[in-house]
Amino acid sequence: MEHPVTTDLVRWIVLLPLLGAAINFLFGATLQKRFGKRVISFLGCGAVLAAFAIALYTLFAMLALAPDRRFMLDDLWRWFDVGGLKLDIAFWLDPLSIVMVLIITGVGGLIHIYSTDYMHDDASYWRFFGWLNLFTFAMLVLVLGDNLWLMFVGWEGVGLCSFALIGFWYTDLVNTNAGNKAFIVNRIGDLAFVVAIYALFAGLGAVGHPTLVIREVARYAPALAGARGYLGLPMVTFVTLMLFLGATGKSAQIPLHVWLPDAMAGPTPVSALIHAATMVTAGVYMVARLNFLYSMAPATMLVVATVGALTAFLAATVGVTQTDIKRVLAYSTISQLGYMFVGVGVGAYAAGVFHLMTHAFFKACLFLGAGSVIHALGGEQDMRKMGALRHKMPLTFVTFFAATLAICGVPPFAGFMSKDEIIWRAYAHGHFVIWALLWAGAGVTAFYMFRQVYMTFFGDFRGTPEQDHHVHEAPSAMAFVLVALAILSTVGGFAMLPGFIAPFAPFERFLDPVFNSDATRQVFASGLHDRSLETLFAGLSLLAVAAGWLLADLTYRQGVLSAARMSEFAGGVFYRLSFGKYRIDEFYRAAFLAPYLKLANAAAWFDGHIIDGVVNFAASMTVVGAWLAGLFDSYIVDGLVNFTSKATLAAGGRLRRLQTGSINGYLYGILAAVMVILLVRAIARV
């Protein structure tokens, strides 16, 4: 740890996508016109895949090192050196960041390939790949930056690319509004993030170590214990809470989750890459990366886990009633992100990161499968107008089904290994309520996911005959990506088996050097370690999943239960709550937007009534005065007044001519005045 391996390979992982973005943005339009879209596809995919190849190479180089020496540093240049703060543009590769890099470039690369088919008919093909490459670059900066400011640069960069890609089809007002919403909601979180960085720097400076380089923060963090922060909180708690507020924005957790469902306005590959697999997991990554700080603040950990659990459960219940195929997946993403936050929030950092990885696999597969369906139906996203697609799109169906099994946590698919671990660890660390929420959430997840599968792929086709005729299987590039992701969703879980099956967890072992601060070890040791209890809880989770599946099967495939009847349950209260997304958008509109608009209106009213009123009053006073003066005039000093008015008229008529409009004339005036001033001063002095 003291002497990280220096390398100059890591920079190319970051710079290749940037290069791809630069070429696409600068020359993309010309290249596309001259040589066709093939060149753009080659550039766009090539840059990311080359980065993936380098990342694989560095992974093997890293595996060759001893486990506690697996740290690589690529220091490019001194960024700035201000007031004791010395920051470099440097990339820090450790087991945690290599996992993220492989997800970003690997899953990202697959989604790039998928996009070559999906976006094929779009005129601004080059712009799409330019933004996608730039996003990859920004995300890599986020995970590889060796200091918090560099991380923040990436953090903002992915936000910008997300904004641009949500509004990619910017001629439609809905899309640009969704982009604006995502950007503005994220600003709230980002502000908290910046506050946290400043506070952390101030705190570390107070104990004599002014630094923001993450590995140095890790070394000096214990010195912060007991330091007083702001708002009456201890410093570590304040910093971690503020950072987590930032994470709720980026990772769409309650209360800042409202932007993610709207973000589905973007093209589907974007939803898969940015709003499911990578960017929204940045918050989880950040908590895992700063685990040494979070482990020192039990209060924050509790907040993280609670928010995560609430989000996981509530978002899942919203997913039950949505009818837009992508919106269901969006709420499912929010819910799964909640699981990840519970994982890192109870101190099971490796489990959280593991779920991040498997989620990237199966959620990307689900989104891309949904994209394939939308593509086949010519842009239709309403599940009520789908059905029976499994016959015409068998490959899409099989891959979608595999990913569904994975997200529901059916063994041996990847989701079972990762999600169950989190659910168990929530209980093992003594959070019964959180466990209960997650457990119920797992059942709801199974219900809405199988509801989606049955509505989309089973039953009768409910769209137009024209659509029915047009339905086709995914083109080759899309099919290849779907299969690859489905395989990953199936076998990806074997990197970390639950403890009660076999003591085989190379993934956790690999990440171990990152999560080895004293505080983190203490949190880990405080948990319950009981194999038989763990088995029992796995059984309970499976029971919930099976119940959810069965309910969905009875309702949407066999039709034994009526969905309409179920929605009437308890007078439809629950249905309306879920369908209305708990009215949070409406609440924000009433609580924040409406007062703001009211304030603006009040200002306008003040201007229109009070200020204008004063002016009008003055005017009417003048009128009255003039009337009085007029009386005075006409009856007492008529002649004098007439003379005055005539004199004024004559003077005005002459003075009018001074405004000649001749610039030269004005300049004569200025010069004359200057000379008079000079002469007067000269004479006065003499």
Binding site: N664, Y668, L671, A672, V674, M675, L678, L679, A682
Partner: protein, 163 residues
């Protein structure tokens, strides 16, 4: 040294004279080049190396090129009508000469404070420090002024769509 000064001064004054008296606006514009270059030479003579470079970059490279562009845009590239009509020469000359006489008196009569000449040394370091030190506020304001000018120029010169 006096020779060099006289040389630069002559270039400046003669070019400025052509600018002021020429009947052809294109000649005026190109004579302005000589005036700016001569002034830059004077700056070098006065140990203001950085200001001289700025003078060349901004005046000759920027303002002058812009001016010539404007001449061509408004007169037509072929220079069909390059009139530079002057009016009121006699009163202008009289005013100018009177003002000049007054100011010349002021120059010669004022007892200037003289603390000795500056030594010849690079000034960029000192100017840079001054900009980020005592003058940082005006410096930032200047950037805002330039931005406003940029936006203003775009807004003013953009042709309104005739709908």
């Amino acid at each position: 040294m006096r020779m060099i000064f006289v040389l630069f001064a002559a270039v400046t004054v003669i070019s400025a004279g052509v600018t002021a008296f020429s009947r052809n606006i294109v000649h005026s514009a190109f004579a302005l080049l000589g005036a700016f270059a001569g002034v830059a030479g004077i700056y070098v003579l006065l140990a203001a190396d950085f200001v001289a470079m700025v003078q060349i970059f901004v005046y000759i490279g920027g303002i002058l090129v812009l001016t010539i562009f404007a001449v061509m845009l408004t007169q037509g590239l072929t220079g069909v009508n390059v009139s530079n009509r002057a009016v009121g020469r006699i009163p202008a000359l009289a005013t100018t000469l009177i003002a000049g006489a007054v100011m010349l008196c002021a120059i010669l009569k004022t007892p200037w404070y003289a603390a000795g000449a500056r030594s010849i040394a690079p000034t960029t370091y000192g100017i840079g420090n001054a900009f980020l030190g005592a003058y940082v506020l005006p410096f930032e304001l200047a950037s805002i002024v330039l931005l406003a000018a940029l936006i203003g120029a775009i807004v003013i010169s953009r042709q309104e769509s005739r709908e």
